[in-house]
């Protein structure tokens, strides 16, 4: 049955725990106890009163008891159907329907009971059997209904939805009333169940026995149902059935409507009904209590929920506030970033401008450098032209003298062949020297095509030929120590320019300081696979304060007419950058000593 499987008696879903554990069944022991007590009571009664005495009939007693039963039964029906309306379970339904049928049917029984009117007549009907013909079907119907309550799972939740169960009740009552009416109408044609003496016919006894068995069976089934589901209603139904069974047993055992046991069975049935009624009422109270607890729990849950919602609301508000604050903060950051970005852009632009300015300035510096180098070159050329002039002065003078002498001799007619040839030879020597000198100067300024291996002594010879005159003027003596035939791999003309530069610097120093016996010492050697040429003078040396700066560009101690201060800078550049060598200076004993390593 659905109820037994899906719900407990409160209608709440059963947890697996309650299914596994054997639940308490308080009514069961009571059922057993009452059954034993009733059995003992009936055995006792039979032992005392067999056969039961027929007592003087009290005409209103049975109808009054029946009226009480109607009241109780209708109450039970009301309570059971009310339960059904809530729980929609077949047990409640069939219990309610059974008791409803009982209430309605017993009204006919009550009215058909003989002796209600003067002369021993009933209110309705005319025969003693009529009342029995009413009561036995009613008892049978109740028995069947209560049996159905324990066995049949109809109506389930879906059947009789809404108010349809009420219509089923109305139809059922109409059916019962119709049955009652038909029994009264056709009472004459019905077989006799009760004699005028009140004794039951065998048919009545058999019927009683059958219904008794139905009740007894129903009591067992209901008890089992109760044990299985824990629903208390089948337990109470079981009581009722048990009591009804014993009542019928007693009625049948008395064999007479007016027997003592027949009277007693009324009380037994009433007892059973009362148990039913109060059982249902206590069930109601319990359910109410459960509902109240549920309501309270719900209220608590609602309160908790309310609290949670409030908390949620609070959290939500807080969250919104924080989101807002965060958003504002982010917005501020974004604005700040934007500002900084703009600043960076500006800074970048300024940097770019500066870079452009710097590049421009560098270009200007480069241009100035180029001009200065050009200037320096021009100055060097001027210097060399002066030197050429010096170099040529004497030979030109000699040539002039030779030519004039020849002319004079010719005019005297004293020219002879030998003298003329010798003079001519002499003139050609002089011219050859002059030619070599300008050749040196020419090659001196020619840019080197490629690095070659050249002999340093050869370079020195040419240099001395070029600038010797200006050195001789100051009576500079040049001492060359050629330890070996030193060859250097480099740019010959550039190397010559370096030597010239250094020697002219020495010459300027001699002139400036009026050195008495000016001397230049040139030493050539080879050290660790490198050619070394040192050029030293005795002009007193370079002041220590400026010795570190003499190779700097534009550094000069001479007047502006003597050069831009690029000579030694260019010399260093040529040796170190072009030839991968080294040009250094130090102060030796008598003067400066330049050292070229290539």
């Amino acid at each position: 049955m659905k109820l037994s499987q899906g719900r407990d008696l409160q209608g709440a879903p059963m947890s697996p725990e309650t299914q596994d554990r054997k639940p308490a069944r308080p009514l069961f022991r009571l059922i057993i106890t009452v059954a034993i007590l009733l059995t003992l009571m009936h055995i006792g009664m039979f032992a005392v009163w067999r056969p039961a005495p027929v007592i003087v009939p009290l005409p209103w007693l049975i109808p009054m008891l029946n009226a009480v039963m109607i009241v109780i039964a209708s109450g039970v029906s009301f309570l059971a159907l009310g339960r059904y309306r809530v729980l929609r379970d077949p047990v409640s339904y069939w219990t309610g329907m059974g008791f409803a049928a009982f209430s309605a049917g017993f009204v006919f029984y009550l009215l058909a009971w003989p002796g209600l009117l003067p002369g021993g007549e009933p209110v309705i009907g005319h025969f003693p059997s009529t009342a029995t013909w009413v009561v036995l079907p009613v008892m049978s119907i109740l028995a069947v209904c209560l049996l159905a309550a324990g066995l049949w799972d109809w109506p389930d939740d879906a059947a009789l939805a809404g108010p349809r169960w009420l219509w089923s009740l109305v139809a059922w009552l109409c059916f019962i009333i119709l049955g009652g009416v038909l029994t009264i109408v056709f009472e004459k044609s019905l077989p006799v169940l009760v004699e005028n003496t009140g004794a039951f016919t065998p048919l009545a006894l058999a019927w009683c026995g059958g219904v008794l068995l139905l009740y007894a069976l129903g009591a067992l089934l209901s008890a089992r149902h109760y044990l299985r589901t824990g629903d208390t209603l089948p337990g109470y139904v079981s009581f009722t059935q048990m009591f009804a069974a014993f009542a019928l047993l007693m009625a049948a055992a008395g064999r007479n409507r007016y027997g003592l046991s027949f009277f007693l069975d009324r009380f037994v049935v009433i007892g059973g009904f009362l148990i039913m009624k109060f059982g249902l009422l206590s069930e109601y109270v319990r359910l109410l209590k459960v509902e109240l607890e549920k309501t309270q729990a719900l209220e608590r849950a609602a309160a908790t929920l309310q609290q949670s919602q409030e908390e949620l609301q609070r959290v939500n508000t807080e969250l919104e506030r924080r989101v807002l604050a965060r958003t504002r903060h982010l917005e501020e950051q974004r604005t700040e970033l934007k500002t900084r970005n703009l600043e960076l852009h500006e800074a970048y632009r300024q940097l770019q401008e500066k870079a452009e300015e710097t590049i421009h300035a560098l270009e200007e510096v480069q241009e100035r450098d180029r001009l200065l180098i050009q200037q320096n070159r021009m100055a060097a050329m001027g210097e060399l032209i002066v030197n050429i002039a010096h170099e040529w002065r004497q030979p030109l003078n000699i040539l002039a003298l030779i030519v004039q002498e020849q002319a004079a001799l010719y005019s005297q007619g004293s020219v002879n062949r030998e003298d003329f040839t010798a003079t001519s030879k002499k003139a050609m020597e002089v011219i050859g020297n002059m030619s070599r000198t300008i050749d040196h100067f020419g090659s001196f300024f020619r840019p080197d095509e490629e690095r070659v291996s050249f002999r340093v002594s050869g370079v020195l010879t040419k240099v001395i030929a070029m600038i010797g005159a200006s050195l001789r003027e100051l009576r500079v003596s040049i001492e060359v120590t050629d330890q070996e035939d030193l060859d250097i791999w480099g740019y010959q003309n550039e190397f010559s320019q370096v030597i010239v530069n250094i020697m002219l610097n020495a010459r300027d120093a001699f002139r400036e300081r009026s050195v008495v016996e000016p001397r230049i010492f040139i030493r050539m050697s080879r050290e660790a696979e490198r050619g070394v040429v040192t050029i030293a003078d005795n002009a007193g040396g370079i002041p220590e304060a400026i010795i570190d700066r003499i190779f700097d560009p534009y550094f000069t101690t001479k007047g502006p007419d003597k050069g831009a201060g690029l000579g030694l800078y260019m010399a260093k550049t040529l040796i170190e950058r072009h030839m991968g060598g080294q040009l250094t200076v130090r102060n030796a004993d008598a003067g400066a000593e330049f050292r070229i390593e290539v």
């Binding site: 003078n397 000699i398 002039a400 003298l401 002498e405 001799l409």
Partner: protein, 135 residues
């Protein structure tokens, strides 16, 4: 050029460091002035010594010379013997100012390359001056 002998009769000192030039000039002077006594020196110091020894009337000197240059030598000679006539030869680039020449007392001034006509004219002019002073 025409070389006609001059009757000038003075003693001459020629100071010139270049041998070829010195010999050639001395040779030409001897041809031009057969009556003159000609002394030669290679530099200022030697020139001084020879001057002290022979006291020539005219000194012909190259300005630029090693050891002691011409002007220096003339200054020395003049300090000792003021009446001597001096002729100096110099390159264009080394030419000295007229002020300086007058201060030292130079008779004539020649540019190199030397022109013999100019040299001879200068000697004749100087000897004429000497004669004037003597006369």
């Amino acid at each position: 050029m025409e070389l006609t002998q001059s009757p000038v009769s003075v003693s001459l000192l020629l100071v010139e460091d270049e041998k070829t030039a010195r010999d050639l000039i001395a040779r030409m002077l001897a041809r031009k002035f057969p009556n003159c006594t000609i002394y030669t020196a290679v530099n200022g110091i030697e020139g001084m010594e020879i001057f002290k020894q022979f006291t020539p009337e005219i000194v012909i000197a190259d300005i630029k010379m090693p050891v002691m240059d011409g002007l220096e030598m003339i200054r020395e000679i003049k300090s000792a013997y003021a009446k001597v006539s001096c002729i100096v030869a110099t390159a264009y680039s080394d030419k000295i100012s007229i002020d300086k020449m007058e201060r030292i007392g130079i008779c004539s001034y020649l540019l190199k390359p030397l022109d013999f006509d100019e040299l001879f004219a200068a000697i004749e002019k100087c000897s004429a001056e000497i004669k004037q002073q003597a006369g």
